[in-house]
């Protein structure tokens, strides 16, 4: 008789313990944010869903709290693509109140899934005219923009001219010199593919075949391309890379002290693809009021002045003074290439497949 008690008791304890564990998880889930942020259950906390490259100065978050009482909780959503994928799946019952960082290549998919609810920020009137109209019927707000451009390691072009147009890149002079990112795994890689489609139309596959024959190198990520293959970034050997218009100033800002006076790389002004990053109130947000206030904050002079040095992109707001490294080392991109978001959404799967066929990947 006694021999049977022990296993029964042990089993009951095991069941109880698991039940307690589950209950604990459930209850801490319901009020879990209270444990960390005292104001969570009040409307003062706003969850900002942002991709992993989102950076802002801490004082601006403090200022937001002082001005509006909002405690900003930044929720990391991995890279922009994965973040938007999560938002599309969670549409209607979102994982945050407001999302930052959906760009013009992903925008259509987010809009199709009704991820956002409309909001027109009073600050929108201060946005540069070219972006102001670009709000998808008021569902998103442009926050910043930047250009994906060919970058050049200047030291490699003392004897020959550096390439100056997309056409130059298929010239045998620049054989074995270019490294690009795989458009299927890298955001700048995709932007460069879209740039070639915007420039060459149906002829884009011929252009890529010529790049391939000119021994272009395809890297998996920006990090691998810039630090691994590009001679201007790290230990690589190729002097031409697909990067950003703002990479040369970033190279100086993140150099060893004493900082060099000028970067060792420069930007090719032709063939740049413009990326615009948007924010929007997520449909079904717990705190839509606060979400709207955060969008106003993102367009405020403070955050907009912070955007260049923290994320190395350009502010959407007009009249923001740019830091000297921007005015000195970023060329003016007069006519950046762009494709309408709807065309990108409709074409992307086919383009990637065709690109893979041309490049043998």
């Amino acid at each position: 008789m006694r021999r049977r008690t022990s296993p029964v008791i042990t089993a009951s304890i095991a069941v109880l313990a698991s039940a307690l564990l589950l209950a604990g998880c459930a209850s801490s889930g319901a009020d879990g944010s209270d444990a960390v942020e005292p104001a969570a259950s009040e409307p003062q906390t706003v969850q900002l869903l942002a991709h992993d490259s989102f950076v802002v100065s801490d004082d601006l978050i403090t200022a937001l709290k002082e001005d509006t009482g909002i405690t900003l909780e930044i929720i990391s959503g991995s890279d922009a693509g994965t973040m938007v994928a999560g938002a599309v799946l969670a549409a209607g019952n979102p994982t945050g109140d407001v999302m930052f960082g959906v760009d013009n290549t992903l925008l259509s998919r987010a809009l199709e899934a009704d991820v956002f609810e409309p909001y027109e920020s009073p600050e929108l009137t201060s946005v540069v005219p070219a972006l102001r109209a670009d709000t998808a019927e008021g569902r998103v707000t442009p926050i910043d923009f930047g250009d994906v451009c060919i970058n050049i390691h200047d030291a490699a072009f003392t004897d020959i001219d550096a390439p100056s147009t997309l056409d130059d890149l298929i010239d045998p002079t620049y054989r074995d010199m270019l490294v690009v990112e795989d458009p299927g795994t890298s955001s700048p890689g995709l932007a460069f593919l879209l740039a070639t489609i915007a420039r060459y139309g149906d002829g884009w596959t011929d252009y890529w075949a010529a790049l391939r024959d000119n021994d272009v190198k395809v890297a998996a990520s920006w990090t691998d391309a810039y630090f691994g293959e590009f001679s201007g970034g790290g230990e690589g050997t190729r002097p031409i890379v697909v990067s950003y218009a703002t990479s040369p100033p970033a190279e100086i800002v993140y150099a060893e002290e004493p900082k060099p006076e000028a970067p060792s790389t420069s930007v090719m002004a032709d063939g740049c693809y413009r990326q615009v990053e948007y924010a929007g109130v997520l449909a079904g947000a717990r705190n839509p009021e606060g979400a709207r206030a955060v969008i106003d904050w993102l367009l405020s002079e403070g955050v907009q002045s912070d955007v260049p040095m923290s994320m190395f992109v350009f502010p959407a707001r007009e009249g923001i003074a740019l830091p000297a490294v921007f005015t000195d080392f970023v060329p003016t991109i007069d006519s950046p290439l762009q494709l309408p978001p709807d065309d990108v959404a409709a074409g992307i799967a086919g383009w990637l497949a065709e690109w893979g066929a041309v490049m043998g990947r």
């Binding site: 021999r3 889930g29 801490d58 890279d79 999560g86 800002v253």
Partner: protein
């Protein structure tokens, strides 16, 4: 069949079962419901596409090659590091764990800078990197069993005239088969589902299903297609794990000696062989680490300490990086929680595998998270636990739970083979003498459990220390782990980014070494006394 197992063992499957149900099955079910309510037709068309099956074949070949190389390098290391007593052994054992925790982007950059442009990208490089990263899996799983290997039977075989090689092949290998099978299955699965290394060091011939899934979710937002690919991956991986579990169940011999470290062999050649293996192993592990240390101390102007001195001030006052001390605390806290959860859940599942019948199935089921696509599980977890009514993100539990899902199969792979090859005559004797089954159970399995659970917990902690995906996907931006900080730094230009990332990678290596050595130390007093009781 062991007659004297206590009755509560029949229920030991319950906690692991509940864990899998809540944190694996439920999130995947939520995801499946969300995706299929959208559209279901894409699943079929993806399953019918030739690309899917072509990639499956390529990935299987690559994973098989990676497994063979990892075993060839890992087995001698497991032998030396887990069996012999020599100065620096504890350090060597910790060192083997290091490759496992380095973020893949760091491993990839280190391999690139070490091997230069001479080595072409592609299969060879990917196989080498997979073997390197998985050394710890082989050395830990096989080592845990080899440590309990007395060598008596080999001595008998040698006395009877068998050559050293013959004794190894006919006596040693069969007795290690459960552990070798378990570790081979795990390495195969890790290589088959690999993402970072395949993307960074690979070429078109090294694609994996996981890389297809990533493209389908994050670039194309083709969820039905991703679901179909994830399903194929799950079926293949489950099959491999089942085969591995079956092979590791047929344990040949049961060992009677409690584990003990042996002194170095007495012969000059034997001594030299152990030393040479240890040195070569250390060189293999250390070369990329040395490259990292060098990058942390160099700039284009020469040697410098500025990356180390700027560690605390880089990006101070922004949301990009937290102070190094905070990132280290965050990483260690996640690692400790992961080790606790995974050791508890995985240990119980391994114990359940001792019993007969249905509850044994849990040890096989608990291996399944290894085959579930990380991207899929991440999205499912976000939908299930990242929003009301159940938002676990702020509790800080979501990341250790996600890490534990990956670590539990490793814990089982370490613990189960050792438990199964434990001599049970002791508990039969104890029961005959009137001991209650529970007492008899601890007498028999206690000493083994103590050692293998420590090894398993160390491996689980290591999984957590090095993990990047879940930490960036399910975490709070304000509390980044060390790997997340490294990857954030490597996302922007500038020498400082590269230099400080190298510093943080070195910090990660040191953290791992300290953690693993500390954990190993808990098991050492036991080993010492046994070694003294059994002077060889």
């Amino acid at each position: 069949m062991t007659p004297t197992l206590p009755g509560w063992l029949r229920w030991s499957w319950l906690p692991p079962g509940a864990f899998l149900l809540v944190f694996l099955v439920y999130p995947l079910a939520v995801l499946a419901v969300t995706v299929t309510s959208d559209s279901g037709g894409g699943v079929i068309s993806t399953l019918a596409s030739p690309t899917l099956w072509q990639v499956t074949g390529l990935a299987a070949g690559q994973a098989a090659a990676s497994t063979v190389v990892a075993l060839l390098v890992g087995l001698p290391l497991a032998n030396v590091v887990s069996r012999y007593r020599f100065r620096g052994r504890a350090f060597a054992q910790a060192l083997v764990t290091v490759p496992f925790v380095l973020p893949t982007v760091v491993v990839a950059l280190a391999f690139r800078s070490l091997l230069g442009d001479g080595v072409p990208q592609g299969l060879v490089l990917v196989v080498m990197a997979h073997a390197y990263v998985n050394l710890a899996v082989v050395a830990r799983i096989v080592g845990a069993q080899w440590a309990q290997h007395s060598g008596d039977y080999e001595s008998v075989a040698r006395t009877l005239g068998a050559s050293r090689w013959r004794a190894f092949v006919d006596v040693t290998l069969p007795s290690l088969r459960p552990a070798i099978a378990a570790s081979a299955a795990v390495v195969f699965v890790f290589s088959f589902t690999s993402l970072g290394i395949v993307l960074l060091l690979g070429d078109p011939t090294t694609r994996t299903l996981e890389s297809q899934i990533l493209r389908q979710t994050s670039v194309l937002l083709d969820f039905p297609g991703a679901a179909a690919t994830a399903l194929v991956q799950l079926v293949i991986v489950s099959t491999v794990l089942l085969l591995g579990a079956a092979a590791s169940r047929r344990s040949a011999t049961r060992r009677s000696r409690p584990p003990a470290l042996r002194p170095l062999p007495s012969s000059v050649s034997g001594r030299a062989a152990v030393r040479i293996t240890a040195v070569i192993g250390a060189l293999i592990v250390l070369a990329p680490v040395a490259a990292l240390v060098a990058s942390s101390l160099r700039s284009s102007r020469g040697w410098t300490l500025s990356w180390w001195t700027s560690l605390g001030s880089v990006d101070a006052g922004t949301t990009r990086l937290s102070p190094p001390s905070e990132a280290i605390t965050t990483s260690l806290a996640y690692a400790a929680l992961t080790a606790l959860i995974a050791a508890g859940v995985g240990g119980l599942a391994a114990i359940a595998s001792l019993t007969s019948g249905r509850s044994r199935i849990i040890a096989v089921l608990a291996l399944i998270p290894l085959g579930v696509s990380a991207a899929t599980l991440g999205l499912g977890t976000l939908l299930a636990f990242g929003r009301p009514p159940m938002d676990l993100r702020a509790t800080g539990l979501l990341i250790p739970l996600a890490h534990a899902l990956v670590a539990v199969p490793l814990v089982i792979a370490v613990v189960a083979p050792s438990l199964r090859s434990t001599d049970t005559r002791m508990s039969a004797v104890a029961a005959t003498l009137g001991a209650r089954p529970t007492r008899a159970f601890w007498t028999t399995y206690g000493p083994v459990l103590r050692i293998v659970m420590v090894a398993a917990a160390a491996l689980a902690g290591a999984v957590s220390l090095g993990e990047f995906g879940a930490a960036t996907f399910l975490g709070r931006a304000a509390a980044p782990t060390v790997p997340v900080q490294i990857v954030r730094l490597l996302g922007r230009p500038g020498e400082q980014s590269l230099g400080v990332a190298a510093v943080l990678a070195v910090v990660l290596v040191v953290m791992t070494l300290l953690l693993v050595m500390l954990v190993d130390r808990w098991a050492t007093p036991l080993r010492r006394t046994t070694a003294q009781e059994n002077p060889a």
